[in-house]
Symmetry: none
Subunit: 208 residues, 4 copies
């Protein structure tokens, strides 16, 4: 291994070390309580060192978001590889994201953080990375949709648009969970979520 490669590896290790610290803080104190100096403390590095490896706090957040989305991506890929109907895949994807929003609440928070921040807030390069990792997740879903259409399990539709709609709906519904007590009677949020997924699927399967 050449010097270049070793340096690159070391660099990657340090970046990971920092990310570990940031993730730890994210999970233990929530997104509102992360500061560079806390990350530095947790990582047992100097504050300046953090800035050597990351341009600023946002970039760390972006990286964490990539991480979260990658985790989710893998789950969805696993689902998409199952030998079940495309319809069931979509249902499982929805459920997976729902579970993800609970079990990986902090990653969900960080996704929310980006989704609800102003578009002008981020530098183009960071925004690009966020978009890209989101795109990757959506691509997997889109392939499910496409295959479903191809196999005649779903009706013809613009799969790109459907995919985004699918995702945006699930995400939007998940955001309403915090108003559960006020908005929902009877069967609560779970009922709403099931209803929503049913409608989304029905949209794809009924004959118009």
């Amino acid at each position: 291994m050449g010097v270049k490669e070793r340096k690159a590896m070391e660099r990657e290790q340090r970046r990971n070390q920092i990310l570990d610290a940031a993730r730890h803080l994210l999970f233990h104190s929530g997104i509102k309580n992360i500061s560079i100096s806390k990350i530095a403390g947790q990582a047992e590095l100097g504050v300046g060192t953090i800035y050597f490896y990351y341009q600023n706090k946002e970039e760390i957040f972006v990286t964490l978001q990539e991480e979260g989305l990658s985790l989710l991506h893998d789950q969805i890929v696993t689902i998409s590889n199952k030998r079940i109907s495309q319809k069931n895949k979509l249902i499982q994807v929805a459920k997976a994201y729902c579970r993800f929003s609970v079990e990986h609440k902090n990653y969900f928070d960080i996704i929310n953080y980006f989704l609800s921040s102003s578009i002008v807030f981020f530098k183009p390069d960071l925004k690009n990375r966020v978009d890209k990792s989101g795109f990757k997740v959506l691509s997997v879903i889109r392939k499910i949709v496409d295959k479903g259409i191809e196999k005649g399990q779903f009706k013809q539709t613009d799969s790109e648009k459907y995919t985004i709609l699918f995702w945006a709906t699930i995400h939007g519904v998940l955001q309403t969970r915090k108003m559960e007590a006020t908005l929902l009677k009877d069967d609560g949020f779970d009922g709403l979520f099931e209803y929503s997924v049913n409608q989304l699927i029905h949209t794809l399967t009924q004959q118009g």
Copy 2:
């Protein structure tokens, strides 16, 4: 007019004056850049005076959110009073919210602010006010749905759930606008939005 009434009016005026300042800042620098002392400066009042009229910063945000939702509520009420089919009403409601997210971007941001904040973030009384004004908006939509079902224009469905789904979908889709460049080809966000509304409506109108 008695002294009491005059005092009450003056009080209301001051509250508005402060709200004007907060709104001004919200519109000119975004939600991330509002601080009490900036509001005080803008309103040409002492910092303490702000706290005399509002219990804390969150309450100002809540009031602004109520304001935004009230604005939206009125638009939707107007639509719901039109002599058009319930289906067309829903379409117009969706479009109204889309327009709202552009024309009143900052109110949309503040709705986002609440939707993406942690549930534990707000004191119960404030959370209640937010929920209540959100509920008011949803109620109008629900009435449209109910009437559509009643008149046989829509199929039978759980109107409460459908309403939330409707809203969550629209909101979720609007949140994706900032990724327009990356995610969407061809006809861009407008196409996506139209597609989404169509699907939402179709859900209500097709015969299962």
Copy 3:
């Protein structure tokens, strides 16, 4: 009753109303959390009104302290009227103050507040009132001591000095309670307190 008297009575009522509010706050939030405006809120009076009846916050504290010391005074008078030996009276007085520091912790805090504040902190008239009500308490104890000496139950000593010593010791010992965990082993604070009272009494009763 003349106008003057009625006015005076009304005035006294108002002062009490304010004091009730201050006491309520003292007991419910502790001495650190009392502010004039909170008192005003609690008393359902205007802030300005408070200042009409009390020169400032300190005066309210002084009045509360008088109240606390008066309460204590009454307890001690009751003890001093009992038909028991003077020695037992002193023991009971000590125990009464110990109980007082627990059961009326907030009054004890306020006594502490004055005792540990700088001498220059208070205006002469307020300081005088504090001293006077402290003096009243001490006088009762002194009478017990005097009677004990007179009856030959106690040895000859400077009863004025002994009384202050007695009091200062009890108070000093009570202040150490918060270090119980660090300083005291075995039988803890209660043991220390009993030991201290014994020594104080022994001082008076043994033949030198």
Copy 4:
């Protein structure tokens, strides 16, 4: 000297610089008038710098208190090393604390500050430091008592309890000084103090 040592020294110097400022303020305006930004101003440092060296205001107070108690500790150690009777040592210790409360009034105030603050007021680590330095002082006194007992100069007693009683009494009596004018006639506070010390010593020396 290596880089590490120099850094450590510089760090210590800065801490001292800040402490100097805090002490200056303590001595010139009293404990009620110390604020972090005043300390920063006095030390000609930024506010943030203060927090770099001390976790919060309390820690500065704790450090000052340690300083004061350490000063006192040294005086007492000196006394305890003298070739005089244990009884005379105790008398001199009492007098030393009395002098300390005058000559180092501000350190005495800060001891009072801790003694009259609520137990829940301080974080465990800070409380520990306070307790520890208080304990150190008491230990010296206790050794005097123990040696006195051992040598038969004092009667048998629980030296741990006696030591605390001794200290609490002296401290309590010193706190009454501010009421000198009201409470004490004739030979004033000095008479009271002498009387108190005599009684304390007598307690140890008389044969019960």
